[in-house]
């Protein structure tokens, strides 16, 4: 599903981040561990096609990301990849339902009301479909963000520090939920975190220095 070889990335000419070679197979989940500044987020963004100017090779689903044009990379990302960020970043101007519909529309896929209802239901948000995003609790907002990430049945879900702001109880709930929806949608889950509590949850781990 993902192959990385001799990958490096420079934010500035003096500081270059080098990454170990990795291969993630379909349906495999992986935990990216490392302290702040170790390049977890950068690696996640490289694999997710949010950063382009890298040297080396990043292949996702047999596609070398640097070979794609900017707009085909956008489309690729929209259809194959789901993102969950530490902050939920929902679009406040839109209702819950429209936030989800946006994900399909922007990925160039048909908007399916049934799919939206199904995903919301599976995350216990069925009655929040018409709600404003600003009326949600933080936990609900995070579940909406997860719903949005899995809506298009992406091959890969990237989660960047999904649990670091949560207490133990909620941390467990969220990571279980993530693993659960990932397996339901046959997606590969890749979690970047410095949260040690997740070490027991995903056995496949990559530690960045």
């Amino acid at each position: 599903m993902i192959q990385i070889s001799s990958l490096s990335f420079s934010y500035a000419p003096q500081s270059t981040l080098r990454f170990p070679d990795v291969e993630v197979k379909k349906g495999e989940n992986i935990l990216l561990l490392g302290e702040s500044g170790s390049g977890k987020t950068t690696l996640l963004h490289l694999m997710g096609g949010l950063l382009r100017q890298y040297s080396g090779s990043v292949k996702v689903d047999e596609t070398e990301l640097s070979m794609l044009s900017e707009s085909s990379l956008d489309k690729f990302r929209g259809q194959k990849i789901g993102f969950i960020f530490q902050k939920n970043h929902l679009i406040n101007a839109l209702s819950v339902e429209k936030n989800l519909a946006m994900a399909s529309y922007l990925a160039g896929l048909p908007v399916s009301t049934e799919r939206i209802e199904h995903v919301l239901e599976s995350l216990g948000l069925a009655e929040k479909r018409k709600s404003k995003v600003t009326e949600l609790s933080q936990g609900q907002a995070q579940r909406v963000a997860i719903a949005r990430a899995v809506l298009n049945k992406p091959s890969i879900i990237f989660a960047d520090e999904p649990t670091s702001a949560l207490d133990d109880k909620n941390c467990n709930k969220v990571i279980d939920l993530l693993l659960n929806v990932a397996s339901q949608n046959q997606s590969t889950l890749i979690v970047a975190t410095h949260d040690q509590r997740l070490r027991d949850k995903i056995s496949n781990q990559l530690k960045l220095q």
């Binding site: 987020t41 950068t42 963004h45 997710g48 949010l50 950063l51 900017e70 707009s71 956008d74 489309k75 990302r77 929209g78 259809q79 993102f83 960020f85 530490q86 902050k87 970043h89 679009i91 406040n92 101007a93 839109l94 429209k98 519909a101 946006m102 994900a103 399909s104 529309y105 922007l106 990925a107 160039g108 908007v111 949005r148 960047d160």
Partner: protein, 414 residues
């Protein structure tokens, strides 16, 4: 879900901001629309009413007053002139047509004009009902007069002396309505037409002399009023409208007329141009005010978009991560600016028309002048297009920023 719905939701999410931008722009557009409609209709009206009249000859006074009174029937007469003197001018070889006007009375503020049939021909008037005036005290009335005063064919009425209501009534004689003129959007709509003799007899209360029935071998009928002699020294009229036979008239006739001590000649073209240049200052100030409003609204739209973009950086980045292309975001910002100005200008155009409709309902003068809010001009498309351009112009910088959003940097937090 599409870009329109996204833009619509963004506008809805900031109702106050959206409203102020739309209101600002629509006020500017409304002022421009009102000026456009008012000015265009007024100018059209004025040229229509002055068409075919090259010169107005009347008593000495303000030339503008002479024009306003005798062509537009708005101001008061400058005084009377001797028929015999007018006759002399009408016999000049440069005069093609000379039409006498005798003013002085009115009925419910509608002026009664003693004139010849050439006056109605000048405006290509047609009858709606009845016939043209022919006998003394016969009148043919304009469409607005018939509609607003309720006069019908066969009705008799006494005229009031003076051109405003409240003058003393001439009760000795009564006018009889014999015809109604079809509405033709000229001054005729608001006039009551009769022959010159009617106006004279109305004022010669008591004395009935029919001089020309005496056999007089030297009787030469007047060109202006055929029932009296050309050299009659007592009869007076208010003014005379003249059409030139050739462009030479424009050079020689005014000089010829003005050289006669008691007469003055005024050119409608020149005087109306002068009138517009006087009014033009006011119009220019209003116009400048409208442009200032529009520029402010443009700035306000720019600032609103620019600020909201700061708040929306995450939205933008998230949308990119979900597959939105750069150009989609670019277009969505342009759409937002365009939508604001589109709403603003449509509301402004409607407001402009609405104000004129209200004005014509509430102010009689507007209705009499024939200014309507239900007229649409192609320039309104220019206004609409122009404000759309303004919207795009104001949103181009924010849109470029949206285009350049660095998704990775924003999403990695900090």
């Amino acid at each position: 879900m599409n870009l329109f719905s996204l833009v619509w939701n963004y506008l809805k999410a900031r109702p106050l901001n959206t409203a102020i931008n739309i209101v600002l722009l629509s006020l500017g557009i409304a002022v421009i629309t009102i000026l456009l409609l008012f000015n265009t209709q007024l100018e059209k009206k004025i040229t229509e009413n002055a068409r075919g009249i090259d010169l107005v000859v009347g008593a000495k006074g303000s030339p503008l007053q002479l024009i306003l009174c005798n062509i537009f029937h708005m101001d008061f007469p400058t005084g009377n002139i001797k028929l015999a003197e007018a006759e002399k001018i009408s016999r000049n070889r440069l005069v093609k047509k000379a039409i006498p006007l005798a003013l002085g009375d009115s009925y419910q503020t509608y002026r009664i004009i003693g004139t010849s049939s050439a006056y109605a021909d000048l405006y290509k008037a047609e009858l709606a009902q009845g016939e043209w005036w022919s006998r003394v005290f016969d009148v043919t009335i304009g469409a607005n007069v018939a509609e607003l005063s309720g006069l019908k064919i066969g009705d008799k009425f006494a005229s009031a002396h003076g051109l405003v209501s409240g003058g003393h009534d001439h009760d000795d004689h009564q006018y009889v309505v014999v015809g109604v003129i079809k509405k033709n959007n000229t001054v005729l709509d608001n006039l009551i037409l009769c022959n010159v003799e009617s106006v004279w007899q109305m004022h010669e209360e008591g004395e009935h002399e029919e001089q020309h029935h005496e056999i007089d071998s030297s009787f030469v009928p007047s060109r202006l009023v055929p029932s009296v002699a050309a050299n009659d020294s007592t009869k007076e009229i208010t003014s005379m409208l003249i059409q030139y036979r050739s462009p030479m008239g424009a050079i020689q006739l005014p000089r010829f007329v003005n050289s006669q001590s008691s007469l003055q000649a005024a050119s409608p073209a020149f005087e109306t141009a002068r009138l517009f240049s006087i009014l033009g200052v006011g119009v220019d100030i209003l116009m400048a005010f409208a442009y200032v409003l529009i520029i402010i609204s443009g700035l306000s739209i720019f600032i609103a978009l620019y600020n909201s973009l700061k708040e929306r950086r995450y939205d933008m980045a998230i949308m990119r991560s979900m597959g939105a292309t750069r150009s989609k975001l670019f277009i969505s910002i342009l759409l937002e600016g365009g939508a604001l100005t589109l709403f603003g200008s449509i509301i402004g155009l409607l407001m402009g028309h609405g104000v004129l409709v209200l004005l014509s309902v509430m102010v009689d003068e507007t209705q009499k002048a024939g200014i309507s809010g239900f007229v649409f001009y192609p320039q309104e498309w220019v206004i609409l297009g122009g404000s759309l351009m303004l919207g795009l112009l104001c949103s181009i910088i924010p849109a470029v920023q949206a285009y350049r959003v660095d998704i990775s940097k924003i999403l990695s937090g900090n």
